[in-house]
């Protein structure tokens, strides 16, 4: 029976067209994703563009050994981890709190207006937002004015090492909390309403229902989203940092991706740039695989 069916299947499913359909995408992936992996060889060479990839001197792990001795390397690694952990945690908390608040709102129109406004920043680029941020956080900007109103001193927040990381993390929370809340809102919609009815009969108030029903129901989603984000740990958010930072805040704001850009494409130290990039890709790869395995184990989520 099974054999019959499978031969019927292969009769109706000719393989040729499938290969043909995949061809354009595979060619593009090959050229722009797989071929660059050959270029990773540069990380183990003293690469000179004139001598080419296969003519340059092979130096083994020397680039990495030099790299690990560099104080800058540990600085960018520390900055990246501090910034991305801060972002992941605070965006998550803000998104969950917002989703819970929105769920408690019975005023349909207000709900819709608020949703429309909080999703908007997600779709604006950091190029544009950087112009806005530099207006707001300048010496004469709104934030300085608010600080002055409460008796503080105005400040150039964007070039202050005390404030820069806070602006990065706060800025990310501001941009993404609304959009990040969507999955939690969806999870809350799936909660069985009879649970709330039963709780009401037992005399539970609004806060008790949030605490004992709503929140526990979205814990699997929270675990899932956090786990999947583990893979992004060595990404500090290039577009944001690149558009907001300046040499004055390298100390606290320079991350791996911005460093790779300056090293590789500005200072033209191809081998060093590639080496740092490879370090990041390798750790990122391991973290992603761990994240996907964990997501499967903890909440039974499979990406494919």
């Amino acid at each position: 029976m099974k054999k019959n069916r499978s031969s019927a299947v292969s009769r109706t499913h000719k393989q040729g067209p499938y290969h043909l359909m995949l061809l354009p995408g595979m060619v593009l992936l090959f050229i722009f994703h797989l071929v660059p992996m050959v270029g990773l060889l540069m990380a183990f060479e003293d690469f000179m563009p004139i001598k080419g990839l296969f003519g340059s001197k092979f130096v083994g792990m020397a680039n990495f050994q030099r790299l690990f001795k560099l104080p800058t390397f540990w600085r960018i690694l520390r900055n990246t981890i501090v910034i991305s952990v801060g972002k992941l945690l605070l965006v998550m908390v803000a998104s969950v709190v917002f989703a819970l608040l929105l769920n408690e709102c019975r005023h349909v129109k207000l709900k819709r207006v608020v949703q429309t406004t909080v999703y908007l920043p997600h779709f604006l680029s950091w190029v544009i937002l950087a112009v806005m941020f530099s207006n707001i956080f300048s010496y004469t900007g709104i934030v300085s004015q608010i600080v002055q109103f409460f008796g503080g001193e105005p400040e150039m927040f964007m070039i202050s090492n005390t404030w820069f990381r806070k602006i990065l993390i706060g800025g990310e929370v501001w941009k993404e909390f609304g959009y990040g809340a969507i999955v939690y809102i969806a999870a809350i919609t799936n909660i069985d309403p009879t649970m709330y009815e039963a709780a009401s009969i037992d005399g539970a108030g609004r806060w008790k229902k949030i605490w004992y029903i709503t929140l526990p129901s979205i814990v699997p989603t929270i675990i899932l989203m956090t786990t999947l984000n583990i893979g992004k740990l060595l990404k500090g958010g290039f577009d944001q940092v690149f558009n907001l930072y300046s040499p004055l805040v390298y100390e606290t704001g320079d991350i791996i991706d911005t460093y790779v850009y300056r090293m590789g494409l500005v200072d033209l130290q191809y081998s060093n740039g590639t080496a740092v990039g490879l370090f990041q890709s390798l750790i990122g790869f391991v973290l992603l695989v761990i994240a996907y395995k964990l997501a499967d184990k903890l909440v039974g989520y499979r990406v494919f």
Partner: protein, 292 residues
Amino acid sequence: MKRIKISDVVIYALLIFSGLICLVPIWNTIAISFSDKTSAALGLVRMLPVNFTLASYNNMMEETQFWTSFMVSIKRVLIGVSINMIVTILMAYPLSKSPREFHTKNIYMWIVVFTMLFNGGLVPTFMVVNNLHMMDTFWALVLPGAVPVFNVILLMNFFKGIPKSLEESASMDGAGPWTVLALIYLPLSKASLATIALFSVVTHWNSYFDGKIYINSMEKLPLQTYIQSLSASLNAEQMAMMTAEELEEQLAVSSLTFNSAKVVVSMIPILLIYPFLQKYFVTGMVVGAVKE
């Protein structure tokens, strides 16, 4: 139920606050773009324009570079999104088949997953584009990112949900894979396709970095790269040499109102498609993130 509770008031206040906080920076920028230069530089503009003027917008109308870049971005969205969509659809369909129906599916799938998990990084990718002689061409903006792997997987998962019986009965009538894809799968996935297309539009419109590293000619510069170059026009070394006061002075004379006006106009296309985005992205996001 009818009396107003304090908890309701607190919740409404917090929600209105979160809505406002998302609007303030945008609103403030719009107000600055309609104010005169001096008031803006002195930081007098908050939520309303001071000494209302259209000067910045008039200046902008005459600045050819802005509109050249605007048109480059429009072109990049039209061509880039078309390429993205064609490639995505053509990859998602065969990959949605079971290995029994498409024998080498798993090999292809592994390649796709591998490119998602691991990449060559910035410098090697730059070298490839350089060696292909694509530097300073339009294609450098649309080809390196032509396969949005995440979208392929999103659409593949959607295609998997379409009942096999539809395809089987069409096959009985002699329809091949191309016909099945065009006449059965695509019409059934309009919402998913719209979601992916809109996301693709936003990505292309907002991209600036590829323009920055691959494009040298001003007439090929995309809008976001152009705006980025304005705000970064003080070069890094110069800034490092300056004292805080000098830097602030520099920043104040750079045209705050003019840049704000450019930012406002560059947001318009996003705002125009935002209603459609909002209609679709909720489904897209939920399908993508929490699949059954």
